[in-house]
């Protein structure tokens, strides 16, 4: 998990054989934008087969996507896909499974430094399959942003 946190790539090297590694994130290899521009980026999440994560509207440990604080860009909005319903233990859960896209919109700061900046997105989630639940966790993904004038 620590390796994934430190990886300066746009796709995580996740070993799905590891028990806790159930979510893999990918994003464009390079994002180019001008100062003051609003940018929307697709972050693709792929879950290990059989697993689901709570959706963004689930009452406990909902899926969250954020940008770690960086003066070069400010998060404006995240659009999540339509959740699915999943029945377990007599309850209807609101979940995402398989592969899904999160649309992350941010604005490049007017005074952002020209050149390459690494934004860091953070996804917080809680994953289960029908046998087991993993404790709430988060993973980070670097987004290389090339800022022009």
């Amino acid at each position: 998990m620590l390796g994934a946190l430190l990886l300066p790539l746009t796709a995580q090297q996740i070993d799905f054989n590891s028990l806790r590694a159930v979510v893999r994130l990918t994003a464009p290899e390079k994002i180019a934008a001008a100062r003051n521009e609003t940018v929307t980026v697709d972050v693709v999440a792929k879950l290990k087969d059989g697993y689901h994560v709570n959706s963004n509207v689930a009452p406990t440990y909902p899926l969250k996507l954020s940008l770690l604080e960086n003066p070069a860009a400010q998060l404006l909005n995240v659009v999540f896909p339509v959740p699915k319903s999943h029945q377990l233990a007599g309850e209807t859960l609101s979940v995402f499974d398989g592969e899904f896209r999160l649309k992350l919109t941010f604005k490049v700061a007017q005074n952002a430094p020209i050149g390459r900046t690494l934004l860091t997105s953070k996804v917080s989630y809680q994953a289960c399959d029908d046998r087991v639940c993993l404790r709430p966790d988060s993973i980070q993904l670097k987004l290389p942003l090339d800022i022009r004038n």
Partner: protein, 195 residues
């Protein structure tokens, strides 16, 4: 020659039926993961608070078969097991059995208490933490359940949902095993007295 081919075919058929029968018997046998006594390690001791703020230690349960279940209110598979455990508590508590739930909710009793009331949990629940989880191998996933023998040793470990009958078989095995071991001790003691 013809007869011998028929005899061989009949023999193979009988063997096949025999093997299938054996296989079916193996499938029907209850699954149990109870380790032999010599392979069991002592369950790590802890002191955790129950819903009334009372400290609970594992040492209090010595002499009982204990089902130690790490769970959380956000864990769906855990909620499937909880009614089974309540059933075991009711059925076997008089035979020296107890369920001890270790809730791993970070929000604490604020979320645990309403759930316990709603789901009519009849066994003791204590609030877990990462330190205690660490003692039990990290407990990265829930449910994680340890079945302890009367000597406080871990007889079996289950990560994830398993069937009610698997648990019940293990509990019975440990309760009855202890009983027959007690009986053996009693016999040995009476033999010594006779000599």
């Amino acid at each position: 020659m013809f007869l011998s081919v028929r005899a061989i075919a009949a023999g193979l058929l009988c063997l096949g039926l025999l093997l299938t029968g054996c296989q079916k018997q193996q499938q029907a046998a209850p699954e149990t993961k109870v380790k032999p006594d010599s392979a069991r390690n002592a369950a790590p001791e802890f002191a955790l608070k129950d819903a009334d703020g009372k400290t609970v230690t594992l040492a209090e349960y010595k002499g009982k078969v204990v089902l130690l279940n790490f769970w959380a209110t956000w864990c769906g598979p855990c909620k499937i097991e909880i009614p089974w455990f309540a059933d075991f508590e009711q059925k076997y508590k008089d035979r020296g059995f107890a369920v001890l739930g270790v809730a791993m909710d970070e929000e604490g009793w604020e979320v645990i208490k309403p759930y316990l009331a709603q789901s009519k949990v009849n066994y003791r629940v204590i609030l877990g933490n990462d330190t205690v989880a660490g003692l039990y191998g990290g407990v990265e996933s829930l449910p994680t359940t340890f079945v302890l023998d009367r000597n406080g040793k871990i007889a079996s470990t289950h990560v994830g949902l398993v069937s009610k009958s698997d648990y019940e078989n293990e509990i019975m095995q440990l309760l009855e095993g202890a009983k027959s071991s007690d009986a053996r001790s009693a016999i040995t003691a009476s033999n010594r007295a006779a000599n």
